[in-house]
Symmetry: C3
Subunit: 490 residues, 3 copies
């Protein structure tokens, strides 16, 4: 009996330790088989570049060039943008940037497959083809998962992240497919299908993961350097957001998507600085600048390629900046009270601005000359196909937003509950927001927990108010005492 | 009476504290109205992408694709490049990267408007249209303002920066408009209209702002990490500079602008390392690498799209690297003596290389087969319109350079004087180069001013010369004494 | 006599100190002359953009636009990617990012010249023309040199790096020219001609440079911040690798090169995380994430534009991730034993994956319907020119790989031996991996060697095992003792 138990234990421990790598390998093998059987290259129709090139005349610019630079911008947003935006946690930067890296690549492989089966399946050739546009779509899907990742950041282990990604990808793609093909709700910048979905899925998952567990750690804070690293992410997201919203738009729509997003996100930057100064008694909060500044890109998404006028984009962006900043200032704590811990504040950056974008879409839908909604209609659309009325469109825009919210929340709750299974060994409060759980860390990382580190910490409290009178600090008696007490007691 | 005074005080204080956010909101509202009344999308002439797309053939590549990737490169230069280049100040990195972010976005909104009225106004439709090319031009304008920002970095508050931007944008655009439309002086890379203007405007503003106030702070220094952050900015500026100079060029000019800038900036990198080692007795100075390396991009600007030959570009770039590095080594201090404090050394990176570029333009103008100056002429040009002689062009190249210098310096002096008004409450020497004035800073930022920080500082002086013999440092008696004195006195 | 000696000494010292800057200036002058005599702009055939532009219709998209955005991506890979990837050394970050900057620019100027004479020479006009494609090729060459740089990082001075670059460029270009023109071995992503060549050249150079000299320094380590800086490089290399492999491909080949590289590098990321966790007992190693994740981009290079199927790309990428990670875990130490010190582990990231890529190329060559090898054949090809058989192609793929290995290793050994000449005054073990040798460093850099620094170091050893139980650390008695001993002895 006893023997049997130990064996069981060993197996359990071994399973917990190796579930993550072994699981990844298995998935990878399955992926390879599926790609071998069903994926093929998406060539362009009668492309004769070769011949032309040889004649030393300018090569033809096809779909590749039409999408590639937009794709690359979005690609940078996913890996540098999201990756570094999350490095703000002073003791969790390795995990933030690296797990973002892992999850994103895993999602890209998985999303191409799922979208291939759900969206691009060619029943004749029994296959789906992969073009640059498909890569771009895969990046959009990964955005949703990375947003959810932001909500549970620091409180999950890699194994849980991979499972979460595995499940969310399927739901996100099905939800988008239904909304686009049958509800025919437009969402140029994917604000509903990506931002709203990702945010509320993540919040729901975080809720059921944390259920009845407190999140209270001194490690959940930034350092001066980690905050600057985070700004790298912010600025790349800012710069390339027009590429995100205009990625799949074309013709006049592309011009509108670029200019609208550009203006909207500029407006949200300005309003973020404004509101942050107002609520901060004249001082800015770097967290607001890192995040809320981008809300304008999210909020304009649904109508980014619509004829809303540059002023419309500015209004939307300004509102987004206000809402998002206020969310970071006041809402985060309230959510904590109802046991929703949102590490990166995705509710403020993606959730609320995403809903705002959905509402903007509904309002605009009532103005056909602005929504040009017929461009998005096809034979498969419910209620009249291509001949749907503007009023009906309004209804379906609402439907898409509500359906997305529903699927995201239910899906997130279920996934979160599943991830609580003991086999996943969720990290506990002590190892939250700490790289040493998952990483071999350099010496100076450990130092912070050392006697010297504690010495520093013991000095800090006295400094906080002294901040106002820096000239006196050096002489501050308390601090000297502290040092004596800590270091010189005989 | 007394009562009245207190009220006046409260109002004054309130005004000073909220002038910045409230002012921003007002501007934003005005902008929205103006955009609503006068801005419209700039569509391409008979673009029928939609239909073509549906036929699944390669979509047409229009003006959007012709400018977009260049625009994105320049966009990154403004926000990542300039933003991070300025993070070198060890205690001012939040402000550097964030206020750069704020100012740039504010300028983008404002510049599109002003250029719309001054340059692109269509008197028939009573409106101006916004294309990707306009966004690119707005980025060029913001470059000028961000350069000026570099001169006053750390010595101004956000409110002052916004006012400065507001004024400078108008002057910069008018100056460029006059020089391009009437003087018809070519300046492909905007070295005169952006770099010279921005640099001397900033220096003049810094002069009148600092008038009779000393700038002497131990905080005006870099840390090892902040210097590396700064290199992020340097390298992105370096990589994308060809996009900056070739942004608005076309045809053969585009090929020349790209290759000339590429070669010129490479040359300035090499000469910077060379001169830095020569004047540093075999050791390099990171400040030179962060800045002077880019001088070649500025110096080739005016003639970037001209037929100067790659060797010409190399010569210009080499000279720029030499001048700029020597400027950083010797000129900064001299300028300080005449009360011009130039935080980022914009005079060395943008001022002198910009003037050098103007001179190159004058020389090249005397060689019509190289300047191809007629390409830049139109009916509106003074002295003969399109039939202007090469000799005349030489004169007008001089005129443009001098006019720009004049407007920049006068404009900068006036703006700086205005910004000295007490209501703007310029920070004083103690709060220069310090984030804690405008930011809620993380704990470790304060630590530097703490007892531990002062302990570190007190140890450092002894280290400087010890640097040469690291093995002895641990045993250095002085330092141990210092620690005792600081921490263990009973 | 005595006098004569001192003079000799002074000259020697002066020579050693100024050889680097003076040498650079001389090269620059020679370059300028050569560019003046032989380089001209590479215009497109009958390009009439100007006229078209004026008619306000979309401008034509020529070769510039076809290559430019790919070129810019690769450019960022060279300067940001390689530059920051190497910043992981905690006390050598200035040198890593800056010397990468210098070497890259020097190589770009030099490579355009050498390729101009070797590859693009037009014997009629006695000149060669420079287009965006040439700039792209120059970037490819610089990649090889920067890889070699990674092997000797921290153990060489700038003068040596420049000489190494000077020699390697010539050999790399000749080797590629022979393999492409006569052996006609395909290598779309330059994995053989750039990665294999660069890696083994660097390793050979490192071997002969270090011959009979030990490399053992506590400074050869990372810090928490420097590891995150390094991730900037990793992620940009990851994002833009498809542009590297697809840079010179066209038509269908471009689609395949992009998608294959995308999938292959994603696979290597996932396998790297997997293997790193397996060999690390459940904990990840940041070094693996920084480097091995990119092996998939290298390994797919040779066949990147071939019809290998996405599953083929995944298999190659997965293998690369495994090999590379294991290499970092186990091989680095073994190589050290045979006196090959590989600072960045280029053997694991570029060497082995490059060889793997070469083998993949050989295997694929035996499947003509996949290798489409005839596309790469021309009249100059040995054994049958354009009518070469698939079997023959297999042989020539082997030949190209072996020839490259041979030239790289022999060339590296010779160059390394030459660089050992005393005049180059190679830094010795004490000044390895230390910026203070070549830089004027900020105060906080020195602090690490100060009494406080040594105090921190003395505390660390006790921390390493405590890492597991962070709650006890503050109370750890040993550490307190240490502080007393160090600071409070009377």
């Amino acid at each position: 009996m006893f023997d049997f138990d130990t064996i069981k234990d060993t197996i359990k421990r071994g399973f917990k330790q190796y579930m993550f790598p072994v699981g990844l390998i298995l998935f990878q093998c399955v992926f390879i088989v599926l790609y071998a059987v069903h994926a093929k290259y998406g060539y362009e129709v009668d492309d004769n570049s070769t011949e032309i090139i040889s004649r030393n005349t300018p090569p033809p610019k096809g779909a590749v060039e039409y999408y590639y630079s937009f794709f690359q911008d979005v690609h940078v947003m996913m890996f540098i943008g999201f990756g570094f935006l999350m490095t703000f946690l002073r003791r969790y930067s390795f995990s933030s940037v690296s797990f973002n890296f892992l999850v994103a690549t895993f999602v890209l492989e998985w999303a191409i497959l799922v979208r291939g089966y759900v969206v691009d399946w060619d029943s004749e050739t029994k296959s789906f083809s992969v073009t640059v546009k498909n890569l771009l779509h895969a990046d959009f899907v990964s955005a949703a998962i990375l947003i959810s990742f932001g909500a549970v950041l620091g409180k999950t282990n890699p194994a849980q992240l991979v499972i979460l990604a595995l499940a969310e990808v399927v739901m996100q793609i099905w939800n988008e497919h239904i909304c686009v093909t049958y509800l025919c709700a437009y969402d140029g910048g994917e604000s509903i299908y990506v931002h709203v979905f990702g945010a509320y899925f993540g919040l729901a998952a975080s809720y059921s993961l944390q259920h009845k567990r407190e999140v209270e750690s001194p490690k959940e804070g930034s350092s001066y350097a980690s905050d600057i690293f985070s700004m790298i992410g912010t600025l790349f997201l800012f710069c390339f957001w027009p590429s995100f919203n205009a990625g799949t738009a074309f013709g006049d729509g592309r011009v509108r998507a670029i200019t609208n997003t550009y203006i909207s996100i500029c407006a949200s930057v300005i309003l973020t600085f404004t509101v942050s100064a107002l609520v901060g008694k004249g001082k800015e909060e770097i967290t607001h600048i890192q995040n809320a500044t981008l809300a304008g890109g999210v909020a304009v998404g649904v109508v980014s390629d619509k004829n809303i006028g540059l002023f419309g984009a500015m209004i939307i962006g300004s509102l987004a900046g206000i809402i998002s900043t206020l969310g970071y200032k006041y809402l985060l704590e309230l959510l904590k009270k109802i046991h929703i811990h949102d590490t990166c504040g995705v509710h403020n950056l993606h959730g609320m601005p995403g809903v705002l974008s959905g509402l903007a879409g509904i309002v605009v839908a009532s103005m056909p000359w602005r929504s040009l909604y017929t461009e998005n209609l096809g034979a498969t659309c419910l209620s009249g196909g291509e001949h749907r009325s503007a009023g009906t469109q309004v209804g379906y825009q609402c439907a898409a937003l509500l359906l997305t919210l529903g699927i995201a929340i239910v899906g997130g709750l279920l996934t979160g509950t599943f991830l609580r299974l003991s086999i996943f060994s969720t990290p506990d409060n002590d190892s939250y927001f700490d790289d040493s759980l998952n990483w071999h860390v350099p010496k100076d990382f450990v130092a912070e927990n050392s006697a010297l580190g504690s010495l520093i910490k013991s000095i800090l409290p006295n400094q906080i108010q002294l901040e106002e009178m820096p000239n006196q600090i050096a002489l501050n008696p308390n601090t000297l005492e502290v040092i004596q007490e800590t270091t010189c007691r005989q």
